[in-house]
Symmetry: C2
Subunit: 300 residues, 2 copies
C-alpha cells in the first residue's frame, strides 16, 4: 500500500465575494495528501521555500503524511492568488509566483521508489517522464492538469494523458482538450481514444462522471448550501479517490465507483472552509456518515 503524490505545497491568497484570506496554506500536494490521509499513508514529493511554516508540516505528519520527499530550498514558496465570483465555478487567477517550484526537479527518496499508485498533480507534463523513471512500475499512474498546461504544453500533455491509467479533469478542461467539442460525453470519448484507461470528469456542483470504453458511472455533488472556498476541491477529489483505492488495492469497476464517491465526499468537505481549515477537525465518522448521505441521495 503506497500512494505517491507529486504536487505543490503552497501559499494561496484567496478572495471570495465574502472574504479575503492572505497567504494561507494550500497547493495540490497538500490538498490531495490530506484527503488521502483518511484512507492510507500518502507520501508527498514536493519543494517549499524556507518561509514555509514548520507547524503546518507537523500537521501533515500528524495526519500520517510522509514528507521525506519534500525538499526545503532557499527562497520563497509557490504563491497563487485567485478571485472567485458569485458563482464558485468562476475563478480568476490574479497572480502566480512559482518561486522555488519553478525550478522543481522531483527527486524521489528511496522510500518512495516502489509505489502502487503515483499521482502526478498539476505539474509540468514534461516532468512526468523523469518521475516515472524513478518509480519502478506502479500499478496505477494517475494525473491531473490545469488550464495553463493545456494552453502552453498541449502536445506533451496529450502524450502523458495517453499513458496514464487514470486522468482527472474538470468538464471545461475535457472540452478544451477535445478541441472544443461541447457534448461532454463525446468530448470524454475523444480523450479516452488518447489511451487513458479511465477518465474522471469533475463537474463541481453537478458532481462527477467516470468513464472508460466499457462503462460509465456518475455521482451527484453533496448538496452544499455554503461553498466557502472551492480551492483544492479537485485535488481532494483525487486524494479521496486514490487514497481509497490504495487502501483496497482492488482496481475493479465496483471499487472505482466507491472511490468516486469518496473523492466527491472529500471535495465536499474541503469547500466547507477556507484552505485546509476543514481538515483540522474532520473525522472518519463524518466521512462515513456522508457516504450514507450520498447513498440516500441517489437511491431509488
Amino acid at each position: 500500500m503506497s500512494l505517491i503524490v507529486i504536487g505543490s505545497l503552497a501559499f494561496d491568497t484567496i478572495e471570495t465575494p465574502c472574504e479575503r484570506r492572505e497567504r494561507i496554506v494550500g497547493g495540490s500536494g497538500t490538498y490531495c495528501s490530506l484527503a488521502a490521509s483518511y484512507f492510507t499513508r500518502p507520501r508527498v514529493v514536493s519543494v517549499v521555500g524556507r518561509d514555509f511554516p514548520e507547524r503546518f508540516l507537523e500537521f501533515l505528519r500528524k495526519r500520517g503524511v510522509d514528507l521525506r520527499g519534500v525538499q526545503v530550498k532557499p527562497g520563497k514558496t509557490f504563491h497563487w492568488e485567485g478571485l472567485y465570483g458569485e458563482d464558485p465555478n468562476q475563478r480568476t487567477t490574479v497572480k502566480t509566483e512559482l518561486n522555488v517550484f519553478g525550478r522543481f526537479k522531483p527527486v524521489l527518496p528511496a522510500s518512495s521508489r516502489r509505489a502502487d499508485i503515483v499521482y502526478l498533480a498539476n505539474i509540468d507534463p514534461e516532468l512526468h517522464e523523469s518521475i516515472l523513471a524513478q518509480t519502478g512500475r506502479p500499478k496505477i499512474i494517475a494525473m491531473d492538469t490545469i488550464r495553463f498546461w493545456i494552453q502552453n504544453k498541449r502536445q506533451a500533455l496529450l502524450k502523458e494523458i495517453g499513458r496514464a491509467d487514470i486522468f482527472f479533469a474538470n468538464d471545461e478542461e475535457v472540452r478544451m482538450l477535445a478541441d472544443g467539442e461541447t457534448n461532454l460525453i463525446r468530448a470524454a470519448k475523444k480523450l479516452l481514444n488518447l489511451g487513458p484507461k479511465l477518465l474522471i470528469v469533475k463537474k463541481g456542483e453537478h458532481g462527477a462522471l467516470i468513464l472508460n470504453k466499457n462503462f460509465v458511472f456518475g455521482v451527484l455533488a453533496h448538496p452544499c448550501e455554503a461553498v466557502i472556498d472551492p480551492t483544492g476541491a479537485g485535488d481532494c477529489f483525487a486524494g479521496g479517490f486514490l487514497g481509497y483505492l490504495d487502501k483496497t488495492q482492488k482496481f475493479t469497476p465496483a471499487e472505482f465507483r466507491r472511490a468516486t464517491v469518496f473523492g466527491s465526499i472529500m471535495a465536499s468537505f474541503a469547500i466547507e472552509d477556507f484552505g485546509i481549515g476543514r481538515f483540522e477537525t474532520l473525522s472518519m465518522a463524518e466521512i462515513d456518515k456522508r457516504f450514507k448521505d450520498f447513498k440516500r441521495l441517489v437511491s431509488f
Copy 2:
C-alpha cells in the same frame, strides 16, 4: 387514475447548429401527455386552430391520450420559433405567435372534472384559479412555468407556486425566482418557503434534484452523445414523473424517487429526435431498459 394536462398543442420552428425544421408539432401539452401516455391515460385541455393536423390528433389518440378537452377554434395554432446554440442549454426565442392560445379560456369537459393529478404547464398563472375551480379537489396540483411569466407576472406566479404540491422548474428559473441567489440549494429552499410541498429542479445535462423540507434526491441525466433537439425535454420530464405517479397512486418519497427517474428517462428519449419524432417508435421495453441503465449509472 386520472391526470389532467393543461398546456399547449403547438407548431414549433426549430433551428439547431445542424438543422432547421419548420412548423413541426410541439407544445407543452403535447410533450407532457405523450410522455405520460406510457404510464396512464392523460387528458389534455388545450386549444388549436383549424390548421392543426388531424393525423397528429389521431396519433395522440392512438397513444391513449384523451382529447375531449381540446377545443378547435377558427384561426391559427400557437407557433413558437427557437434557435439553439452549440450548447443545447442556450436557447433563443425568435418568435412567439400565440394565435388562438392567446385567447385560451380553459374549459374542462365533464370527463375531466374529477382529477387525481392536475398539471398546469407553462400557462398564464392568472388562469390557474379558474382551472382549479373546475377540477374538484385533486390529490396533486403540479405546475411548471417559463421565463416569460417570471418576468411579466411574478406576483401571480409566486402565489400559484405557493399553493402547488409540486413545482417543476429549471435551475435558471429557480435562481430567478429566488431573487438571483446563486447557490442552487439555498435558492431551492427559498422557493420551498413559498409553500410547494415538492420542488423539482431540472438541470438539463446535469440531471435533476427533487427537494422538500425533509429530503433531497437527485438523478443524473442519461449520458447522451447526440442531443438532436432539446425542445420539450422539461415537459416530457413532467409527463414521465406525473404519469408514473398517476399509475401508482402512491405519493410517498420512495415513489417520488422512481417518478423522478421516469421523468429523466422520458426527457432523455425526447431529445434524441426532432420534435415528437422519438415517440413514433418508443416502446415500453426501451423505457424499462433505460430504467436499468439509470440504476447502473449511479449504483455503488
